[in-house]
């Protein structure tokens, strides 16, 4: 089984990289980009039967830093 984990900076945490990407889009002439938030996607190839609770634990312990990041798990 496979799972995909989306990790994003929490709302309210400044995302300087997102801000730089937004600025660069503006410089390319793309108007109307109100905000850009940059995160990461982590794909996991897991033993069948791995529970969502276990994946959440992986996120809490390593994949996300919950001080600054939020995460979302998608089972594929």
């Amino acid at each position: 089984m496979k799972a995909r984990v989306f990790v994003m900076l929490k709302n309210g945490v400044l995302d300087p990289q997102g801000a730089a990407v937004q600025h660069a889009l503006g410089a390319l002439g793309f108007d109307g980009v109100n905000e850009v938030r940059q995160g990461k996607v982590i794909e996991l190839d897991l033993a069948d039967g791995t529970t969502e609770a276990t994946i959440n634990e992986m996120c809490e312990k390593l994949l996300a830093n919950t001080v600054i990041e939020s995460y979302r798990v998608e089972l594929l």
Binding site: V13, P16, Q17, A20, L62, N65, V67, I68
Partner: protein, 222 residues
């Protein structure tokens, strides 16, 4: 006074930290990250700067889960002294031994230069040889030194006098100009600037030397 300096793959300030501790009078041992135990009788653990594990995932995240880090956590839980410089600070926050986190610098650039710090408290084993409000010049060299925490945590750190150093001119966007903090029992310190790079005459600046002499004095007299 026995000190240990942890070495992770990608650590590159480990030998500077070793020399600064040794010159201040400590008996220093280097400890590889795969070790599960610290040398017997270690008083202080230093977590050096560098790029542990290539900064993969997040700076310090993999090192925070290394075998030796379990021993570091146990040492801190026993009330032991530990400090992290630069990547070492990132490791200590990732290991939840200090609050907050270090984000990408607000200006997105890697910054390498000497900056002025203000000593915000002398009530710590690391800062007792400085004077309150003293300005010291200490090198920084980081891409992810933008300290952040939620407002409640920042208020708590300030209320408990746990901000050890502040930037005089904030180079990286850190909340409330914070450059270094201490733990609740004041024995764990994390900071982005490098006092070990300003600790002997050949460095051209010895403002960081008192960081290590404070520490040795505190441990010897404890």
């Amino acid at each position: 006074m026995k000190a240990a300096v942890l070495q992770f793959p990608g650590s590159n300030c480990d030998r500077d930290m070793y020399m600064a501790l040794k010159n201040a009078g400590a008996d220093v041992t280097m400890v590889w990250h795969k070790e599960a135990d610290l040398p017997a009788g270690v008083d202080v653990i230093g977590v050096p700067g560098g790029f542990s594990y290539g900064d993969y995932l997040r700076c310090g995240a993999i090192a925070a889960n290394s075998p030796i880090t379990k021993a570091l956590k146990a040492h801190v839980e026993r009330g032991g002294y530990a400090f992290g410089i630069c990547n070492g600070f990132q490791v200590l926050t990732e290991a939840r031994l200090l609050p907050g986190a270090l984000l990408r610098n607000a200006g997105l650039k890697y910054i390498c230069r000497t900056v002025d710090l203000s000593v915000e408290t002398t009530d710590s084993p690391y800062t007792s040889a400085y004077t309150q409000g003293q300005h010291i010049g200490i090198p920084i060299a980081h891409h992810d030194g933008n300290f952040t925490a939620d407002e409640d945590t920042l208020d708590m750190l300030e209320g408990e006098g746990r901000v050890a150093f502040r930037y005089v001119n904030n180079p990286n966007g850190s909340k409330r100009d914070i450059a270094g903090i201490v733990s609740e029992n004041r024995r764990v310190l994390g900071m982005m600037p490098h006092p070990e790079r300003a600790a002997e005459p050949a460095h051209g600046n010895e403002d960081g030397k008192h960081f290590f002499t404070s520490l040795i004095d505190a441990v010897v007299s404890a």
